[in-house]
């Protein structure tokens, strides 16, 4: 269960996130959709306890798998050692490393130092790291960024299965409509720090028109 209640955040007087409320139930994938700079990352960081809200409250029950927007690990550390290290940090069994590597598609990269991976490979290590210990909630910030089309499809399948098979609550931020409509049960649309709509994605074309209109409206007011 992930829930945001009237989350607000100001940076030096500028209100970047304002009165954002929504929740993600177990078994549900919620898309957090909005243009660049809308406040998605800021909201997620407040949910994770990495940023103090100026107002409101964010909560995540149980362990959470987090994939940050610009994921990076330690260049000198091999993929497997990094994942083992993260297991120890999360306090979960080291035995989970192989499963996470397989699921994220980095099964063959175990001995490779992180610094010598491609952009897409790095992002998948980030995903693997989030999967460790089968948490009950996921916060994935731009999860598919830097992946090639094949991998995007795989990643979306993976995200879906987290909710469907593991009954996890999954919050995925994206600025891509296609992504939202492909995997999400529900979409929370944010623009200029405010939630402007919350609905089930229907046909992609329909959503796109609505989205652009919503964003435009928000920017006008």
């Amino acid at each position: 269960m992930i829930s945001a209640t009237a989350l607000t955040r100001r940076f030096g007087g500028r209100e970047v996130v304002r009165d954002v409320s929504f929740s993600v139930a177990p078994g549900e994938v919620v898309g957090f959709l909005g243009p660049n700079g809308a406040g998605k990352t800021t909201t997620m960081r407040m949910l994770l306890g990495l940023l103090r809200p100026s107002g409101g409250e964010g909560r995540i029950d149980g362990r959470v798998g987090y994939l940050p927007e610009a994921f990076t690990a330690y260049d000198a550390v091999s993929v497997r050692s990094y994942l083992r290290f993260m297991c120890r940090m999360k306090g979960v069994s080291i035995g989970d490393v192989d499963r996470a590597m397989e699921l994220a598609g980095v099964g063959k990269l175990g001995r490779r130092p992180f610094g010598r991976l491609s952009k897409g490979q790095r992002q998948r290590v980030g995903l693997a790291q989030a999967l460790l210990g089968r948490p009950g909630a996921y916060v994935l910030d731009e999860a598919t960024i830097g992946l090639d089309p094949r991998q995007v499809v795989d990643a979306r399948g993976l995200i879906r299965s987290l909710a469907d098979d593991d009954r996890a609550a999954v919050l995925v931020s994206t600025h891509l409509l296609a992504e939202a409509s492909a995997v999400c049960d529900r979409v929370v649309v944010i623009a200029a720090g405010r939630v402007v709509a919350e609905e089930r994605p229907g046909a992609a074309g329909d959503l796109e028109a609505r989205f652009l209109r919503l964003v435009g409206e928000a920017e006008l007011t």
């Binding site: 000198a76 550390v77 940090m89």
Partner: protein, 236 residues
């Protein structure tokens, strides 16, 4: 605070650190400068004394330890890997303790080859064993304190060079605070914090519980403050 986590953090830090050129270059420079200065001392004194080794080594550590510790928190804060650890969630204490431990072990590794200088003195004459033992105990404790200060400085900023400079500056103030106590008439208060005076006591061949207590306490205090800083910087 689980020791398994501390060990994991320390192990990761050691891997990262020793995969970079930093410890090798710093170790080589440290050894070369220290050896040149010390052999010169032997030449001038014509006595089999090891005592001058320790103030020299201590002062050089003042400049090298911050280079070893500067990346510990600053780099993780800059790249964002610290967020992942804190979202894991890892409380600050095992992070601080692990990073300090890695820095301390690295510094001790830097000191290990200086033993060749003691071997040289023993080859040339018959030095007193007391100052060798007490001096290295003092250096190890000093290294622990310096590492604590270095890690603290690194937690204050996301910039490695700034962290190193803050640490060197702070350590120089501590090192010379006994001089300040004389001129400022601040008496024992400033001198109490003088790292050079503490080290000199060890180098002379005596282990004084007040010196051991001070250096250990300094480690504990700097690490506790670092934990506070890391935690408060998390929630900004």
């Amino acid at each position: 605070m689980s020791f398994a986590r501390v060990r994991a953090v320390a192990g990761k830090e050691l891997t990262v650190l020793w995969s970079s050129p930093v410890p090798y270059v710093v170790g080589a420079l440290f050894q070369a400068v220290l050896a040149a200065l010390f052999v010169d001392q032997l030449h001038a004194r014509e006595q089999a004394v090891v005592q001058p080794l320790f103030p020299l080594a201590g002062f050089l550590l003042l400049l090298t330890v911050p280079i070893i510790t500067m990346r510990s928190f600053a780099e993780e804060a800059r790249t964002g890997t610290l967020d992942l650890l804190q979202a894991a969630p890892v409380p600050p204490s095992p992070l601080v303790a692990g990073k300090w431990l890695a820095g301390w072990l690295t510094t001790l590794a830097m000191l290990l080859p200086t033993g060749v200088l003691v071997v040289i003195v023993r080859w040339l004459g018959h030095p007193d064993r007391g100052p060798v033992i007490a001096g290295y105990v003092g250096l190890a404790l000093l290294a622990a304190t310096l590492t604590g200060v270095g890690v603290l400085a690194s937690s204050l900023t996301s910039s490695q060079p700034v962290a190193a400079m803050v640490a060197v500056f702070g350590l120089l103030l501590l090192w010379f605070s006994n001089i300040g106590s004389g001129t400022l008439n601040a008496g024992d208060v400033l001198a109490h914090f003088s790292l050079s005076e503490r080290l000199r006591s060890f180098a002379g061949g005596a282990i004084d519980t007040s010196d051991v207590g001070f250096l250990v306490a300094a480690v504990v205090v700097t690490l506790a403050v670092t934990a506070l800083v890391v935690d408060s910087r998390r929630l900004r």
